[in-house]
Amino acid sequence: MRELEPSPPTGTVRIGVPEGETQSGDVGFQQQWRFFTQDPFTTRGPDGRPQGRVAESWEVSADGLTWEIHLRPNVTFHDGTALDAEAAKQVLDAVLARASTRASSPGLAEVRQVATAGPHTLVISLARPSAFLMDELDIPLTKKDPGGTVIGTGPFKPVTISPREVVLQAHEGYHLGSPAVHELIVKFYPTLRLAWASLLRGEIDAVSNVPADALEFVKSDAVDTFSFSRHFAHVIVFNSARPQLRPAAVRRALNAAIDRQALIQSVLKGRAQLADSPVWPKHWAHDASVRGYSYDASLARATLDALGVHVQRAGGATVPARFRFTCTVPQGHAVHERLALMIQRQLYDVGVDMQLESRPLSELDTMLRVGDFDAAIVDLSSGPTLSRVYQFWRSPGDFRGFNMFGYENAEADKWLDRLRHAQDDASTRTAASQLQRVLMDDPPALFLAWIEGSRAISRRVAVPTEAGRDPFADLWRWQIRRDMSPTEQ
């Protein structure tokens, strides 16, 4: 990689965003360009620990109820005004004022009051100690001008916004350093094919999402591909309220019946990491000693037999099976379809008939919210923080979260709450380990694989990103290579 030297922003980088959802967890056009314009208090490191962005440092009181957050003094909004503690407080207050925040964010739900203690220090008072607070401060710091336009503090500022193209300009006052690229154009493409063809023609410099199938065809002398771990997992979530799926032993048997490695190799082309629990395997508190599920069809059959769930020879219209349930698959999602077909066959091998139905994503979303489903294949953003695990799998109660799956386990709740209020690393490790064990005994879903994402970027651009990290997260550091003219692309 060429050594990068600080210099005034120069050149233009064009990024194509195919809107057609090729892979769950993909960020759409609107979200993508905003991502380049906004900067949060914190981001998450690869091990799930919070990393300062606008927040430079923080400390917590001995009782865990008061957090002092020191903001970087050199952060400015795109309009040139400085971001101080008061502005940050207003952002936080606005977020906390939303009912959905306290209902779905276990860390922010504990906040009693936000105050300032100096020009760049925020003081957050909590009702109870929270280990998730800093995880959840991945809130972008924005404000609105009198016209209602959102103004951010990110490395790029919007210049013109249209439905199919947004032109961004380097925010030279960006607190981490001025972007090396002067102009960033984010373009909408209806299909990956069109975006890819534009990339190969040199009309754009990057494509935001490239599916695993297409990687080998995209990579060339002119185009490089960058793969990185996403914090999403392919999961078949169960509606645990359904009678046939209610027994934990049934769900354990189903987990044992799944050959995850075969799924990863056959459907995901090896570009994924095996998942057997909702805990991000690279999380600093993840207990690798907790044995996950291994493919064992005999064990699955034996477990189901022991439960008295035997194959029923029904009429000619249906598959003979021990029991059947329906898995809803988002429409038009080839990977999910393929995964579902393969799992269907694997489950059929142990006598379980997983019927498949296809629904538009919006319809599936509604079905999940109202609990009108047996199972569904979805991508859960279960990593990299433990607060995500809490959001999805804490039994619904005073905290609602995103547990739409009817999953309830008192033991799991206990350890999830311990995680939520842990005040030191040891407590977190213990709780995480225990939670992993409980979720192995009473699995709420079929955790299949952690997704790997890929970006395709022209070699005209120097991308100073370490392997395994999303290059878009460092886009402000990209540079146009001076030794490559556009015609060399």
């Binding site: 890819w196 190969l200 002398d221 056959s266 598959v319 066959r345 059929y348």
Partner: protein, 577 residues
């Protein structure tokens, strides 16, 4: 003018290398032609094999579809069973992303798809592949190449599959010829289906039409191919070959940059050129060396001959061989040895001759005074009392001793000349006095001596005593060479700033062959005497800055001419100065 060595080098080079050059040129031409054919044939083989593999790949898809159809037809399977079969096939054969059973009206009966089927029976733009209909190739929105394949079921309806041609792309990607040769796959209507160069795949996505591609055009003119051509590719000239995928009406084109395709021929050509060049250089160097070694003895002989001519009789040539040149060198050395011996003989004889002459002269010159003195001594005994005779005796002895002394002085002057003292003297005056004093001697010899002196004084820087001796020698010689009745003329002239003195006689003259040595020591034309007079005279004249020459004609007489630079100084002025 070229040296013999250079000519020799060129001769050898031409004789040895020109045939080699001719052979090399023919070899290169044959090599190029042969290599081109070999490369074309090799690339054609690659294209043909690839075409067979592509054909096999697509037709195997059709076979899978037939196998599915066989499982579905006339088996009385329930719809769920048919559904299961289709899904299992789709999972088992990733070439198919979808399998759907359609009834005669085109409505789906069962499908491997979880959602609504996406395939239908291909239309009129399809091609027949082993009884199956195959739609045009498309690149789907997920960037994967696909085609719809359908077979008619015997019981009615269609089995339609969405064939994923991703592996076809891989196959084309894997086709490599050399480092930069790639393959292209073109459909019958000219659509670019696959390209082995990753940078060119956007053309595939665009469905670029290739009907104007030189090979596709050629193949359309000559459908039974194969064809090959050289043409301009995207990155420069390429060698292209094409082979048809007959069953699919597709064409596999293999393109390789000509620089790479003919690299071996070019390399061999270069190597051959270098070899020929090296051989040529070697031959020139060898020819030059051989020429030098051949010509070196001749050069040595030339140098030796030149040295002998310059008198270096010690010069010899090296003799390193026994061939003709060696023998010539040996003969030269023998000749030089013989010349040295002859020179020694000549010198020895000259020394002997001179010694004889000197001895004879001394005997002659001494015998007369000694005899006179002896005779006088005998008479003095008898005539001691005669006073007149005693006086005559004294004079005689003194005269003869004086003569002996003069002779001795001559000998000493030859060995060690006396130093001269120059001062301005009037030539006319000194000559006039001398001629006057010798008038009597001339008359006694029956000669006349005439002086014809230029008017006025004629001053030169000279030694009066030494010059008088010169004049006297010349005049005495003239007296001796001139028979009685002859004449001796002493003449002076003024020529610009030069004083000219001539002593001419009407004597016997000097033979021409003796004129050159007349001024050498002990050279004389007289029958007696040491012959030192003219030698001493010449030395004196040259010591005084003058010259002496002689002209003579046998039987008519001789003339000695002296030239001296004149001086304007006078004795008194010099004394004053």
């Amino acid at each position: 003018m070229k040296k013999i060595t250079t000519r020799f080098a060129f001769l050898m080079a031409a004789a040895a290398v020109l045939p080699l050059l001719a052979y090399g040129a023919v070899s290169i031409l044959s090599l190029r032609a042969g290599t081109k054919q070999t490369v074309i044939q090799g690339n054609l083989n690659v294209a043909r094999r690839s075409a067979e593999q592509i054909n096999l790949y697509v037709t195997s898809g059709v076979k899978i579809l037939r196998a599915v159809a066989a499982d579905l037809q006339h088996t009385g399977l329930a719809p769920w069973q048919q559904d299961r079969i289709l899904k299992n096939y789709v999972l088992q054969f990733p070439e198919f992303t979808e399998l759907t059973l359609l009834d005669d009206s085109g409505a789906p009966v069962v499908s491997s798809r979880i959602g609504p089927p996406t395939v239908s029976v291909p239309g009129s733009d399809s091609v027949n592949v082993e009884g199956a209909l195959m739609s045009p190739f498309t690149v789907d929105d997920d960037l994967l190449p696909t085609a719809i394949v359908a077979i008619r079921l015997s019981g009615g309806g269609w089995l339609v599959g969405l064939l994923n041609l991703e592996e076809l792309w891989r196959m084309v990607n894997r086709i490599r010829v050399g480092d930069h040769g790639v393959a292209l796959l073109v459909s019958g209507p000219g659509q670019l289906l696959a390209h082995g160069d990753p940078a060119e795949r956007s053309r595939v996505a665009r469905g670029e039409n290739m009907l104007l591609h030189p090979l596709i055009m050629a193949l359309q003119r000559s459908p039974n191919g194969p064809v090959s051509a050289e043409y301009q590719g995207t990155h420069g000239p390429v060698l292209g070959v094409a082979a048809p995928v007959t069953a699919l009406q597709w064409t596999v084109v293999v393109e390789q940059p000509t620089s790479e395709a003919f690299a071996i021929a070019s390399r061999l050509q270069l190597q051959l050129g270098v070899a020929i060049g090296a051989a040529l250089l070697l031959m020139v160097v060898a020819g030059y060396k051989s020429g030098r070694s051949f010509i070196q003895p001749i050069f040595a002989l030339m140098r030796g001959t030149r040295a002998l001519a310059e008198g270096h009789l010690g010069e010899r040539v090296p003799v390193d061989s026994t061939d003709e040149l060696g023998q010539l060198g040996q003969a030269f050395n023998n000749m030089a040895d013989r010349l040295v011996e002859l020179q020694e003989d000549v010198r020895k004889k000259e020394r002997e001759s001179m010694f004889g002459r000197v001895a004879v002269g001394l005997v002659h010159d001494l015998s007369h005074p000694i005899q006179n003195i002896g005779n006088s001594c005998k008479l003095i005994v008898k005539m001691f009392d005669d006073v007149d005779y005693r006086e005559s005796f004294r004079k005689t002895v003194e005269r003869e001793l004086s003569e002996v002394k003069r002779m001795m002085d001559d000998l000493r002057n030859i060995a060690k000349p006396l130093p001269l003292e120059k001062f301005p003297i009037d030539v006319n005056r000194a000559l006039g006095e001398l001629v006057e004093s010798m008038q009597t001697t001339a008359e006694r010899a029956g000669l006349t001596i005439d002086r014809r002196l230029v008017f006025g004084p004629l001053y030169i820087e000279g030694d009066l005593f030494a010059l008088n001796r010169v004049y006297r020698n010349l005049i005495v010689n003239a007296f001796q060479a001139t028979a009685p009745g002859g004449e001796v003329i002493v003449r002076t002239m003024r020529q610009n700033d030069v004083a000219v003195i001539e002593v001419a006689d009407t004597g016997c003259g000097i033979p021409t062959d003796r004129l050159e040595t007349i001024f050498e020591d002990f050279a004389t034309t007289k029958r007696r005497g040491l012959g030192l007079g003219l030698a001493i005279s010449k030395k004196i004249v040259e010591q005084l800055g003058g010259t002496i020459t002689v002209s003579s004609e046998v039987g008519r007489g001789s003339t000695f001419t002296l030239h001296f630079p004149m001086t304007k100084a006078r004795p008194s002025q010099r004394a004053a100065g």
